[in-house]
Amino acid sequence: MEQNLFRYVWRHSKRDQLVVLAIILLSLPFYFASFDLPKRILNDALQGRAFTANMPLTTFLDMSLPLPEALGGKITLFRGFQVNQLQLLMGLSLIFLLLVVINGAFKYYINLSKGILGERMLRRMRFEVFSLYLRFKPEDIRAVKPAEAASIIKDEIEPIGGFTGEAFIQPAFLCMQALTALLFIMMQSFWLGLVALSVVLVQGLVIPRLRREQLRLARMRQIESRKLAGRIGEVVEIAPAIHAMGSGPYVRADLGGRLGTLYKIRADLFRRKFAVKYLNNFLAQVTPFFFYSIGGYLALSGAMNIGQLVAVIAAYRDLPPPIKELIDWDQDRADVTVKYQQIVAQFPAQLLVAERQEVKVEPPPPDAPLRIDALKLVDRRGTPILETMTAEIPRPAHVALLGPAGSGREGLARVLGRQAAEFKGTITCGGVNWRSLPDSVASRFMAYVGPDPLLFAGDLRDNIVAPLLRSPPQVFSEPADPRDRIEHARRMEALRSGNPAALATAAWLDPTVAGARDAEQLDLVIMDLLETVGLADDVYRFGLMGKLRVATDHALIERFSAARERILANLEARGLTHVVEPLDPERYNRNATISENLLFGLPLTDRFANDALGSDPYVRSILEAESLLFPLVQIGLRMAETVVEVFADLPAGHPFFERFSFIRSEDMPEFQRLIEKVEAQGSLLRLSTQEQSLLIGLAMSYVEPRHRMDVLTPAFERRALRTRRSLKEYLPSTYFADIEFYDPHRYLEAASIQDNLLFGRITYGVANAETRVREVIRRTLAELGLDRAVVKIGLSYEIGPGGKLLSSQQRASVALARGLIARPDLLVLDGALSVFGQSDARRLMGRVRSAMAGSTVIAAFGQPEDAEGFDQVLSFDGPRLVSRFDQDAVLADSPEGARSPELALAAEAPQSPPDGGV
């Protein structure tokens, strides 16, 4: 990035700046004329100096070109009009009005140009800084705090962008305005001009010096603010750990201290800023004092006429604002220069991967061996991660890198996967050097999957197909439809700001990279891939849990509605009817929650959410009428008691809360208090309505076979059914939009596809019920050609920021699918399967290797058994490559052979456990 802000701005906006400067020059005569005109109005029109006693008329608007006598003397361009005193006054006033309009128009254009220029530069700078982050070396980008980077791009660049629009225009404009005013004053009275000039010089020299401290404070503030943003981001990220450690007070104290530092800087800044402002205002106001006293004296003594004095005072009124603004501009200049330098300092050249010219580098042929020559990798503290090694890896081959965690196996995998740039030695493949390999070429033949699946917020499909977004759409400044002016303007503006003209929504996806002809075929490729990475069942489940929109998915809804009958028939044919309890309007469904049974529908808004039902006046009145309020409070209390007992000694934020508790950890104290209150009072009746609502909210999620408290008596069920009928029958019209009632004859938009297909609940307690029912659904939908639609809906499952809504295994599978989708010739797996159990990891690796048959897989492992079946094994002891093993050698070398007799017996024991252990 350019080190000097002004050079940067000039380089990228020279043309626009020059145009605006030319407009400023053009505006000056009009500006000057606006000073001169009041004098003429006062002297010529009002005091009548243009008229002599015997001449009631004078010439107005006469125009002539004064030329030397040698060239013919004065040339008259326009003789003008003969006007009387009133007509002259009106004429001059109209010209004054015209000048006001013209000067205003110039100002408008200049301000608009400044704004647009600034915004354009802001866009360019944000884009460049963002691009610079993408160019960070892999080792360095990991050290960047995301919140700090966001703060730089979003907040710190903003004022710089705003300034860039004014970088050249503002001083030019203001200087010319000030000089014009000063020149005018001097032309009226040299002495008054000198007074004005002296004040300007004091302002121009003293104030910037006083502002230096302001700048230092502003710089400190910027650095501290950035640190604060980074710290807040960090705390939010590790918030559960902070809860668990009980270090909240310490973290709060730390943040309080930082906020205090910022306050102190800001307070000092204010003191300095307003002191300077005071001085500035004083100097501006003291000048008229000289004008009134000295100018008045000159007018009284006849050295200057009143018109001149009025014009001087009027001109001076226009002098301080440009001077003040010039000083402000200089302050901004110094301020943003510092900010700019601070930002540029974030991107020293040594942190960035050299920008590789997109020269024509062809990916190496798939059978070109990998030559590793004197490769060495050390960490930032100089500790070797990989000691100097030289090897040749034949391709295609499946190669295992074997060694303990932290050994050279990880270092080599990272270098081969291009995740470490600071290595010594060379890696070449088919004449292509690893160090000078552009991303665009590397991504065409290789993929790396590391231990941290780096997923982004979006749906599953977006994350899996990300490597296929590599076909930048050809976008020219001219849109396909020349009449589309908005699109044309958008593209032009993007190019002017150094941004890409192509939108992310354009057709970036190239299905051919995945071996598919089109999007339809790509779906099949993805489905295959899901099987390979063990994600197919999960995605199918997501699909069945997905929802369809009546407005857009009409055709699919019809097909799924038609599938229900067939599924129910297939369930019956397989003797599984008892496994699904249908949602019958006349029966209590024991496998559904109490709220589902009461509402017999799905809430569309929060009004019918479980925790709101107990406090809703309408629902509450019906529950009261059916005598259900008290039993529900009782159920809620028993559930709360169990949770408090079970989770009492688990720290807040413990993962078990999320998985098994009916109560969120932050709500635990409230429920604990309720339980104590009931115990102390010996009755539920004294609980307030709000407290009862809390317990009712808990009870609403109760499912008898799941929670197993034996509270659902036939009487309770009868009353629940009466409540169900009453709720629907008397539902106020204002509630209509809050619920969608179950209706066996209609597709329910608020319900999942599975609920629509079964129109019932899978019975708890029947062994493998869910698996067996899903199997029937899957087969039936496959027969009806709807399975692909389900997978598609499953792929649109939103995975949350960083894939937080997925399990760690699912995240790893997505990362693996992403690594495989572009059919790489070389796949580097570096702890990519570490979240799986050993047997799952082996099965998964087997499928990945089958998918990569004929291509190269380089996988890092810790256990020798994992390397079974690989063509070659490179074994590491610490950072050192110790040997290459063939498969037999690996197994012979396994620690199994050297285990203790006790462990050997333990290993044997399961083969014939004496008491039937399996």
């Binding site: 169990t642 098994f660 076979p705 197993r708 708890y764 333990a906 024991a909 399996v918």
Partner: protein
């Protein structure tokens, strides 16, 4: 809540010293499932994805020998099944078939491992149980040798 599950768990030697609150946590994390007579609870060689505690009924433990299933024992209420496969991350080492109607508490392997890692009393109990089996196995081998 979970009274019958807790009672069944308390019948298992390895869970005898585990506090009731933790047994309720196990019950909460699991689900109660029913098997009809002759229904397979788990099958030898299949991935060990679940652990079972029999709460009611009897089941036969079978092992394949020379390709044929051989009944090696019968298990009843309070028996823990499938835990070796889950802990070792190996396929089930035997087959369990309900010989009467069986009610069991089913806990998935991920939850079981999580419970072991998060509840120290449970992991200690399992270590003790495995050590006991190791000793029993050593005694058995010693007898065979002698």
């Amino acid at each position: 809540m979970y009274t019958s599950e807790v009672a069944s768990l308390q019948r298992i030697a390895m869970f005898r010293d585990v506090p009731i609150a933790k047994l309720k946590l196990i019950a909460m994390a699991g689900r109660r499932v029913h098997y009809r007579p002759a229904e397979v609870v788990l099958r030898q060689g299949e991935p060990a994805l679940m652990v079972y505690v029999i709460m009611d009924g009897q089941a036969d433990v079978l092992r394949e020998r020379d390709g044929k299933p051989v009944k090696v024992s019968t298990v009843g209420p309070g028996s823990l099944m499938g835990e070796l496969g889950v802990v070792l991350d190996k396929p089930y080492l035997g087959t369990i078939i309900a010989s009467t109607a069986v009610t069991a508490l089913q806990i998935d392997s991920v939850t079981f491992i999580e419970l072991l890692s998060q509840v120290p009393q449970l992991s200690m109990a399992l270590i003790r149980e495995l050590a006991r089996r190791l000793m029993a196995s050593s005694d058995h081998q010693a007898k065979v040798v002698s």
